[in-house]
Symmetry: none
Amino acid sequence: MPKVTDEHRAARRHQVLAAALRCVSREGFHKTTMAHVIAESGMSAGAVYGYFKGKNEIIRAIADFAIGGLAVSLQELAEGDEPVTPADALAVVLNHVEGLAESPDGDLTRVAVQAWAEACRDEQVREIARQRLLKVRGGWEAVLVRAQRDGSLHPDADPTQVAQAMIGMMPGFVLQRLIVGDVTAASYLAGFRSVVA
Amino acid sequence: MPKVTDEHRAARRHQVLAAALRCVSREGFHKTTMAHVIAESGMSAGAVYGYFKGKNEIIRAIADFAIGGLAVSLQELAEGDEPVTPADALAVVLNHVEGLAESPDGDLTRVAVQAWAEACRDEQVREIARQRLLKVRGGWEAVLVRAQRDGSLHPDADPTQVAQAMIGMMPGFVLQRLIVGDVTAASYLAGFRSVVA
Amino acid sequence: MPKVTDEHRAARRHQVLAAALRCVSREGFHKTTMAHVIAESGMSAGAVYGYFKGKNEIIRAIADFAIGGLAVSLQELAEGDEPVTPADALAVVLNHVEGLAESPDGDLTRVAVQAWAEACRDEQVREIARQRLLKVRGGWEAVLVRAQRDGSLHPDADPTQVAQAMIGMMPGFVLQRLIVGDVTAASYLAGFRSVVA
Amino acid sequence: MPKVTDEHRAARRHQVLAAALRCVSREGFHKTTMAHVIAESGMSAGAVYGYFKGKNEIIRAIADFAIGGLAVSLQELAEGDEPVTPADALAVVLNHVEGLAESPDGDLTRVAVQAWAEACRDEQVREIARQRLLKVRGGWEAVLVRAQRDGSLHPDADPTQVAQAMIGMMPGFVLQRLIVGDVTAASYLAGFRSVVA
DNA sequence: TATGAATGAGCATTCATTCAT
DNA sequence: GATGAATGAATGCTCATTCAT
């Protein structure tokens, strides 16, 4: 089947990635074997290796995808007409996270936790994660600048530092959801609103 | 003689755990082989297996230790004489975290991230993590009740929900420290204070 | 049309063989993969398999070519007008070998060494090698009979046995050239002349 | 079975090497799989890897052994009381080679041919082969100096060049034996004697 | 006839664990 | 108890060959 279209190639890559995502959300990166991914994808070993150089490349692609998935565009919030508060933006983030947990290819938040752990070991995954985090922090900064304009954030606040704190609330939500299981976007957000009020 | 033996046993277990901690903080749980732990501990394979049933038991002990290490006693803060604000308690937590990164047996925050990932895969690690998190949430609740008494937290706030939000700030601090590297307890806390102000 | 096709077939086969020769002289038979040969030839996998049944057929064709390349026609020497000595014939052989090392498709003497090794494993390659060696021995016998006539070889010598000895000097020259690197046709021949003198 | 003696270690290494030798003399270096060696040795995979880092290390050890096996000590011949001719020394070499073909761990001359081929590919094997060849050439030079003293070699001959030529007769003997099969030490030597006579 | 993506058996190697000493 | 050599199933990956287009 030579002369395959780019769409075909992309679809095949996605087929591998989706299979790997399901495996990783079940078993984590390191208990997921290539044999699992191969079986789950329905492809042959050789075919999978035709689309990815090896397990590391798949791990990196998945880490990128999962961490990227957690990123919400806060930009549009910052550019919208409605007044924006930090709590509003956090609500958007938390609802987005809850949606990722229901992904058809497994709970993406579980995969993201794997990716965080991998970022602490693998320089390349760390770089991917860093880029993603900085991007989202940029979104938060835009929102916070807007919030200062709207009066919902103190004008003397340093948007960069506040962005660090605000983005920092997401991992704690993800982990408590997965590990304790008693946290919802609503309860978490309510807790935050009570503090800032 | 039995007491000497018990002390001996405890010392030997610690020897293995400390070695494993150093390995895991360098390489993560799954790239750490028993051979690494055995070599790092200076013990023989048979000896290590005399103190731990296998790798899983070591992983669980380490996960317990690392997640437990992140827990600070906020109880004494709640019971002290000084008025307490949520930000004060967060400062205590963040400073404690910064100290763990300098542990003689490797950066414990890196190990904790590994433990979070493992908690998403292994029911027993998850249970350990859950107990630890609930314990710390209990400490936060005590602090927050005190804060309500002191007037630094709104009297209508639900301490449980606020505790979820407050404990949720810690993982985000750990991850940004390890992955982005530009976050300090001071900058993170300043960001938080700006929001609640 | 059939003739054009035949020429085309021959040209294509040569294209594959030349590519394979370059690969084998670099990497040996068994480290040379079909993918290497396919890439080096600039043809497609399917095309290569249209001209050769498989890797074994290519190996045999190359072995034939490389061992055949070492064969010089000593016949014309035997039939010439000039008096011939064994050393003269050896000089022709050694000079020919030195030329093969400069082949545009890689050092053919390296390929020949691979072919010798393969001849010890593969019955078909061995048969090819045997035919080639016997052919050259025939050439040597003709030269040696002529040398007896010329008086440069003892009349009681058995030309077959002497041919065994004389042809036997070639592999040692090739190997010392490739492995030790300090042997030239001139030095090797001088050594031989000193013994027979 | 801890605290094993050095003899035990040496015996185990030999057990692997002997197994590998049998495999390689049958199938060549590259068709010999680790599974073959492991099965032939009667050891487990892990045990074999406890004595050798990998297949390459085994190949190199075998190449060393096989090429080394071809080396005869011509030194004692050079130092003996009897007058020595080049043909006498060649006789010793050829008889030695015939003996190696009957080794209990397979025909060592077949393994040596594999080693020559490998020496053309692998820098480390080449270095091993070079050292071995230079050693034997040294033996030949001693013999030839002695032969000059005895009057059986022309006093003007350069012993180094003659040694190149004389050692060069061995590979041709090995290859003709293995590939054509009609050459014996006796016939080959007779051919040589006829030329030098 | 040409293409090259796909196949899948096979390969070298690792590693958690055991157990004879 | 302590030792560490031995085990062998499992892993990530390769590559000669095929065949739908």
